[in-house]
């Protein structure tokens, strides 16, 4: 009885697997000509600042806080307009 049940379970798993593979093959359209080449040009854009500038000893509490403020900002625009990346704002 146990052997019969095991065989039945194996058969069911095989059947489900085959159906899933077949459905995937039917559902996914074949890649069009040129697609493989095109994917090489589809690179994500890194953020404007992959690294921020240094922090001075007074940083994060004083005017040399540019990197921290830039990281905290809710927008991707510079916190201090016209401030070059990596430089601390001056009052």
């Amino acid at each position: 009885m146990l052997r019969y049940l095991t065989l039945m379970a194996l058969f069911a798993a095989l059947l489900i697997g085959s159906v899933a593979v077949a459905a995937h093959a039917v559902g996914a359209p074949p890649a069009p000509p040129g697609w493989e080449i095109a994917t090489r040009g589809l690179a994500p854009e890194p953020p404007g600042h992959v690294l921020l500038g240094p922090i001075s000893a007074a940083g994060r509490k004083a005017w040399d806080c540019w990197p921290q403020l830039e990281a905290e900002s809710a927008t991707l625009d510079p916190v201090f307009q016209g401030q070059p990346a990596g430089e601390s704002p001056r009052p």
Partner: protein
Amino acid sequence: MKAVALMLVFAALATVPARAQYGRETPPPTSQRGDGLDLGRQAQTRRAFEEINQGFALYQRNDLAGAEAKFRSAVARDPDEPQGSTAYYDVGLVLARTARYDEAARAFDSALGRDPGILPAWLGLVYVDLQRGKLVEAQRDARAMRASAPASALARYEEGYAALRAGEYDLAASAFAALLPGNGNVASVRYNLGLALLRAGRLDDARVEAQHAIALAPSYAKGYFLLGSIALRAGNRSSAAQAYAKARTLTSDPSMRLLCDDVLGQLGAR
């Protein structure tokens, strides 16, 4: 009785510590009374404070070797916070900029171990993770950065970028879509969202985002390349050829020009 209550209120207000404010320079730590050990520690922290600032000035003059020496010396003094995490972060930054990524990751980790709120160190850690091809770690660290600063747009962007690099397209699409309120006018956000949607098989939504990216930056060659790829994937060969031809005209990158030529050749448009 009223006078006593008023005095109590004034006394309570006087004991509330003033909030640290941006725009006022923090003076270096000064000597305070204490035992000999404390005085020695204060002296080390004061010296580290000076060295961090000297390294900072050297970094600004692009003398990275000089800056590194000063930052390392400050680290060796094991100063109190926030100078300890600052010194480790600054060392990590120089190491990352000079492509010593494993060492940089250790320095950023040390900075974050001392102060998990030093957000630029999270950003540096994600950068070196990606440079080392550690895509799972990059995603984990980007998530940690966002947990530290839930309102940070840069943290959200890093999360999406790391997910996109790791092939987690639905996660990437969610992260970039979350940036749209307040950052919908940033072409790279639209481009990355469009790319994630294309990879996730959502071609109509991807096309809308690619068109937004191009409208925001009309000379954005990668935007046209993306638009061409969406059309190609959708089986619209003539639209694809048109977009790839535009990307080819706009790009100044020789490798992208070659790719455009190759795809246009496959489409029979060259």
